[in-house]
């Protein structure tokens, strides 16, 4: 009991959210922007951040009566300006054929002009606004569904909620509309929330509605984990920028991905919900406290910090299962040479190469000074060496200190005849003994390439 109580302290509750985060960090100015969708759109647009286009707004009954309905495109979203929780939104997908002024909703049911007018009257009356104050209705361009999400989303458009605090993205989830939620990406109404690994933008665990943990999309065998969200870094970058321009210190940014536009803001939220913790099966308070007071010099730096601090779960899991380490195509490697002389370099991880090669300069720093000198003296063009027998060639090089063998290596530049020495390579905490060839790589971007032979203990993630 006490143990569970202690663990629960990492979870952000409503009291702490309101008192410790919203009150001190979301001041009036920011809330004004987040609670007024039209103003929010304007602020985002002014700062070069994408949102869906505003088509028209209706602020009074007179405007409603004089509105020219023919100016509306065949598909649009009608929203209350101060709505919350996704209430009061009507999305139409097209005009109904053969009938004037009738549109079709996501579920195929028709919407007549009088339906829309009645809905707008309700919006103007404040039926959907916070504390029922009179509101403004507006039309905006409908975002189109990305192909990738098609099998997962019922009718509506999935969106991505990113919580940003102190210019660092701390937690994110992908929300999928379901039949139960009526095509709305709102967890309170029964949508699915998928936790996201911040480093890779890949979905992890999922929650349905207010608290049911699920693995598959409803009614299917489609796994909800492992969906790779496109434009991931852009999305995080946008969210951090939005925090800076809105002045909301504790922000829940809602971003959808449009087929043409790419990621675009739906809205900014000054009171982000707490369910995101269930989707990620992790506490938000822990994460918020970790980034509190960190100095973040730039937007990209903040994004990087978020990815580093709150990502990598998938990788850890993979490493646990396979017993191998996951590394990227470029990795920090420590080379250890003679008498423990070592050097840290950026190594290119190259599954196209058999063996590992290091630059002559690096070899010198590892204590192979003499070896390199003698090799350069003895070395000849391959065209000359290829005439000789293997034994004769070895005789030319065997006197060089530390050389254990020689090998002709074919590369895109032709064939070079190289000597091999023994060193140790430390990659991601694992030390492997390696026989490496020496070659002049000073003109290349990476002084070291690690080949297949030394990569048996690793999995390579090209996204990293």
């Amino acid at each position: 009991m006490f143990e569970a109580f202690k663990k629960s302290r990492g979870i952000l509750g409503m009291n702490a959210r309101n008192l410790d985060y919203i009150r001190p960090y979301n001041r009036k100015k920011g809330k004004r922007i987040s609670d007024d969708k039209i103003l929010c759109k304007r602020v985002l647009k002014k700062n070069g951040l994408p949102t869906s286009r505003l088509i028209a707004k209706i602020s009074t009954i007179e405007q409603l009566e004089h509105f020219d309905w023919s100016t509306l495109p065949s598909s649009f979203a009608l929203k209350p300006n101060r709505g919350f929780g996704g209430e009061g939104i009507v999305v139409v997908y097209g005009k109904k054929k053969n009938r004037e002024n009738t549109w079709v909703k996501a579920n195929g049911s028709p919407v007549t002009l009088s339906d829309i007018q009645a809905h707008i009257r309700n919006i103007l009356d404040g039926s959907f606004s916070l504390s029922n104050t009179p509101d403004i209705a507006f039309f905006e361009e409908r975002l189109t569904l990305l192909k990738l999400f098609k099998p997962y989303a019922y009718k509506g458009i999935p969106d991505i909620r990113v919580i940003v605090f102190n210019s660092i993205p701390v937690m994110a989830m992908l929300r999928l509309p379901t039949k139960e939620s009526g095509g709305k990406a709102n967890l309170q109404q029964g949508a699915i929330g998928l936790g996201i690994d911040l480093a890779s933008g890949t979905t992890t665990t999922a929650v349905l509605g207010k608290g049911k943990i699920v693995e598959y999309a409803p009614g299917t065998r489609l796994a909800l984990s492992g969906i790779k969200i496109p434009y991931w870094k852009d999305i995080l970058t946008m969210a951090v920028k939005a925090q800076q321009v809105s002045g909301l210190g504790f922000l829940g940014a809602d971003i959808a991905i449009d087929r043409e536009l790419g990621p675009a803001f739906l809205e900014l939220n000054a009171r982000p919900g707490l369910s995101i913790q269930l989707a990620n099966l992790d506490g938000l308070k822990n994460r918020l406290e970790r980034v509190k007071g960190l100095r973040v010099k730039s937007v990209l730096r903040g994004v990087r910090m978020g990815m580093d601090l709150f990502g990598g779960e998938i990788q850890e899991e993979l490493e646990e299962i396979s017993g191998k380490k996951v590394i990227g195509t470029v990795a920090k490697a420590r080379l250890i040479g003679i008498d423990g002389k070592s050097i840290e370099v950026n190594a290119k991880i190259d599954t196209g190469a058999d063996s590992t090669a290091i630059d002559l300069g690096i070899a010198r720093e590892l204590g192979f000074d003499k070896t390199v000198d003698e090799y350069l003296r003895a070395s000849k063009e391959w065209s000359e060496l290829s005439e000789l027998s293997k034994k004769d060639r070895w005789k030319m090089f065997e006197h060089i200190p530390h050389v254990i063998s020689t090998v002709p290596v074919k590369s895109s530049h032709g064939v070079t005849y190289r000597i091999i020495v023994r060193i140790q390579i430390e990659l991601d905490g694992i030390t492997i003994p390696a026989k490496v060839t020496l070659i002049n790589r000073s003109h290349l971007e990476y002084p070291v390439i690690v080949g297949k032979r030394n990569l048996r203990k690793f999995l390579i993630d090209v996204n990293k």
């Binding site: 569970a4 629960s8 979870i11 929780g85 309700n122 109404q189 707490l274």
Partner: protein, 218 residues
């Protein structure tokens, strides 16, 4: 029963004892509602509705609490039915509430009449103000229905009923009544309690249950 001189003085000025006790109880009921929200996580319809329903229940006394509950439930059910009924008409908010209030008022009147004909005089003799208070509750209910849906509205209504009943039990508790009459200043203790509640940032009991999965799996 010992009576604090201050209370004596109030009575001497012509303020009825009942009124004094009820007014002094109000801070306690309000604190109870705040406690349920901040610590337990039971929301109800704000602070006004559960407090006022508590006192409405009190007015059904001494033997009428069951009628109070019956009327409360009938109001919620009628409110729900009229929403289904009025859905097709697509009415604006206030006219819709007005119609619902009409239906609820007539239903309540019918209940009183039926109660009377079965010699349930406890029901018919209830004074009008607690009834009116309960009937106007329906607006809160409809507003919540529109904003958050039927399910949430029903849950909040039942939570309101629960808190009001607990409040009712506390306000009726004779030890507490005697304590307040003897030491009216104890009411002021609610102030520091509320300051504490207002600064409490821990998890609510309901949140603790809701998020249990997160720390269970870790």
């Amino acid at each position: 029963m010992s009576v604090h001189p201050l209370i004596d003085f109030f009575i001497l000025q012509g303020v009825p004892l009942d009124t004094i006790v009820l007014l002094l109880m109000l801070p306690i009921v309000a604190t109870l509602v705040a406690f349920f929200r901040q610590i337990i996580g039971i929301k109800a319809f704000g602070i006004y509705t559960p407090s006022i329903v508590t006192f409405a229940f009190l007015a059904f006394d001494p033997k009428g609490i069951k009628y109070g509950i019956a009327i409360f439930l009938s109001i919620i059910i009628t409110g729900m039915l009229s929403r289904i009924l009025l859905k097709h008409f697509r009415l604006l908010y206030l006219p819709r509430v007005a119609i619902t209030l009409t239906i609820v008022a007539l239903t309540t009147l019918t209940m009183l009449v039926i109660g009377g004909s079965f010699n349930r005089t406890g029901l018919a003799s209830v004074s009008i103000f607690p009834l009116l208070i309960m009937i106007t509750l329906v607006e809160k209910f409809i507003a919540t229905q529109i904003e958050k849906g039927d399910k949430t509205a029903t849950i909040l209504a039942l939570e309101t009923l629960g808190i009001s009943l607990i409040g009712y039990a506390i306000v009726r508790y004779h030890v507490l009544i005697e304590l307040i009459i003897a030491h009216p200043w104890v009411v002021l203790i609610t102030l520091p309690i509320n300051v504490w509640l207002g600064k409490w940032t821990g998890l609510r009991v309901m949140e603790y249950l809701r998020f249990r999965k997160i720390f269970d799996q870790n």
